[in-house]
Amino acid sequence: MNPSVIAGLTGATLVGLGLYGFILHPHPLRKLLAFNLIGSGVFLVFGIVARRGAAAGFRFDPVPQAMVITGIVVAFAASAVAVALILRLSAANSDLSLDPDARAEPSDGEGP
């Protein structure tokens, strides 16, 4: 098995793990962590695409790698906004036990 196959399988596993955590964890910060796991799995997929694209004296295809760098920056910005939102929410509201579906009911009156 070459490194790109291993990394590809790792990426797929990370996406799966992240997806599991993202759906199941009620705590928003845990959801955010899981989201970041999915994100890094996706970046790894870009990584193996870049690695496979080695050609013309390059050991990698620079285009997908450049995209990953942009992606990491954007993902960090997303985390920062989410953290600020979570902290604000926890300061405004002592109850952070969000099962979001259960929480929104009083405010929007939707049925269960």
Binding site: I38, G53, P64, V81, L85, P100, S107, D108, E110, G111
Partner: protein, 499 residues
């Protein structure tokens, strides 16, 4: 069709994007009242640029293209404006300008304060939504579109919780998580497309795409991500609290335009990137989800106690109609397919204008009465005649009664459904219309009946007029000539290849 070289007028696309981007940076640096001045000052230029682009596209009769830095795809990034991009650019510019002028009083920086949090945030985020939408409408590169989608998310979320109440924070957080999940699914699809075909330029992909498992997986992931952002049933739960809790001007933009951004990309994906795939199954699934959204959204709207929530659930339903375009316009060069295509775009436009107008009216109403509980609206039409006229006209378009853009859209949809033998799609269209009549009646009936309502604040006439003007645009779409429908076909792959 040349895809990799700039065409005359292509430079307008770059200017249209750079205008709001420069506005964001100026507003952020200068701060305070200047943020508002920059935002309001740039909107007229934005409308002019959008109209100029539409004019160029109409003149050329084919998409106008700009390759950034003179570097053509696959290495470089291309911008392309076809018929639907041009129309959406104009609609977005008009609705954003309307929302901006509507919001002047609420988001003015108070006297004696150098800068206020909500004002600065509002004016920056409004321009950011505008910039992101322009890129989404003219972007030709899937990764560039990803960055634009994220820009849209980062701009929309703070608007939802701009007043800082805990329930708005919960709504914003939920929205953010859904949106981030949507983007990451989309991005994974982009990675697979690149891995399979070595490009993510929409036109180049369209030439290279083969129905392989990789492409199907990429298409499924991107569609799932975009659906989460568009709030199509069953991933619609984030939308009503987010749209209903935002300030009226923001709700108008979120409901009228922002969800259309991700829908627009879904259109791009299936009709522009993947025409080589046999998409019947996918089209039926999307149409089925759309139909379910029409029914569920309308029924939920019927049960709402607050006006803004009712209008938000109506958005869930109206988004459902949009997805009927996938089965109804999937017939390649057949005539009914063109009707389905026009119907879909007509629905996008009519809903954008009608819903923006209704949210702005709901804002006027909530401000004037101090509440927006439907149960306490008895006699309200007497004190707010203009606002209720707006709501009634907007409702007309939502129900799909003539003359209105909504009627045009649904009429074309019915034609396409019957002509293509897919009669079952007529059911959700008709039932949805009846249910819409029900929820519009729920607002209007008490308002028109006898009752005593006292105004807490006199409504601002300018705000009422802006809302009315937007809904009038939705009505005027009902008189759209055939030339307008032909314009929407410019650059559509199937028609371009047909004799």
């Amino acid at each position: 069709m040349e895809l990799g070289t700039s065409t005359p007028g292509g430079y307008l696309l770059v200017l249209a994007i750079l205008l709001p981007l420069a506005g964001i940076m100026l507003s952020f640096t200068l701060g305070g009242r200047n943020a508002e001045r920059v935002a309001l000052g740039s909107t007229p230029f934005g409308i002019v640029l959008a109209c100029a682009i539409a004019f160029e596209v109409g003149q050329a009769g084919k998409p106008i293209v700009y390759t950034i830095g003179g570097l053509p795809p696959p290495l470089g990034i291309a911008l392309r404006a076809d018929g639907i991009s041009a129309v959406m650019l104009v609609a977005a510019a008009v609705i954003l300008a309307a929302a901006a002028f509507y919001a002047r009083s609420k988001f003015a920086t108070p006297d004696g304060v150098r800068e206020s949090r909500s004002a600065l945030t509002f004016w920056i985020m409004l321009q950011a939504i505008w910039a992101a939408l322009i890129i989404i409408f003219v972007g030709g590169d899937l990764f560039n579109l990803y960055v634009a989608l994220e820009l849209l998310t980062f701009a929309a979320v703070p608007l939802v919780c701009i007043d800082g109440r805990p329930e708005t924070l919960v709504a914003a957080l939920r929205y953010l998580l859904f949106a981030l999940f949507g983007s990451i699914c989309y991005l994974l699809g982009v990675a697979l497309f690149y891995g399979a075909h070595g490009t993510i330029d929409i036109s180049l992909l369209a030439q290279r795409v083969q129905p392989t498992p990789v492409v199907w997986m990429a298409a499924a992931l991107m569609t799932a991500g975009l659906l989460a952002k568009t709030a199509l049933f069953p991933v619609h739960l984030w939308l009503p609290p987010a749209h209903a809790n935002a300030p009226a001007a923001a709700s108008a933009v979120l409901s009228g335009l922002v969800v259309k951004g991700s829908f627009f990309l879904t259109l791009r994906l299936w009709f522009f990137v993947l025409p080589a795939l046999h998409t019947e199954t996918a089209a039926v699934i999307l149409g089925g989800l759309g139909s379910a959204a029409v029914i569920v959204g309308s029924v939920m709207a019927l049960g709402q106690a607050r006006l803004k929530l009712l209008v938000a659930y109506s958005t869930v339903a109206q988004i459902g109609y949009l997805f009927l375009v996938f089965p109804l316009a999937s017939g390649g060069a057949q005539t009914w397919s063109a009707a389905g295509w026009s119907a879909g775009l007509m629905q996008v436009l009519a809903h954008a204008f009608a819903k923006a107008g209704m949210f702005l009216s709901a804002g006027v109403l909530a401000e004037a009465l101090g509440h927006d509980r439907i149960g306490n609206l008895r006699g309200a039409a007497r004190v707010l005649p203009l606002t209720f006229l707006t709501i009634a006209l907007g409702g007309l378009s939502l129900m799909g009664l003539p003359p209105s853009g909504g009627f045009n859209a649904k009429w074309l949809m019915l034609q396409a459904a019957v002509a293509s033998g897919q009669w079952f799609w007529t059911l959700p269209i008709l039932v949805g219309g009846l249910l819409a009549a029900g929820y519009v009646y729920r607002i209007l009936a008490p308002a028109l009946s006898d009752g005593q309502v006292s105004l807490k604040v006199t409504p601002m006439r300018s705000q009422e007029v802006i809302a009315l003007a937007l809904t009038m645009a939705a009505i005027v779409l009902g008189f759209a000539p055939q030339a307008f429908l032909d314009f929407l076909e410019i650059g559509r792959p199937v028609t371009a290849s047909s004799p």
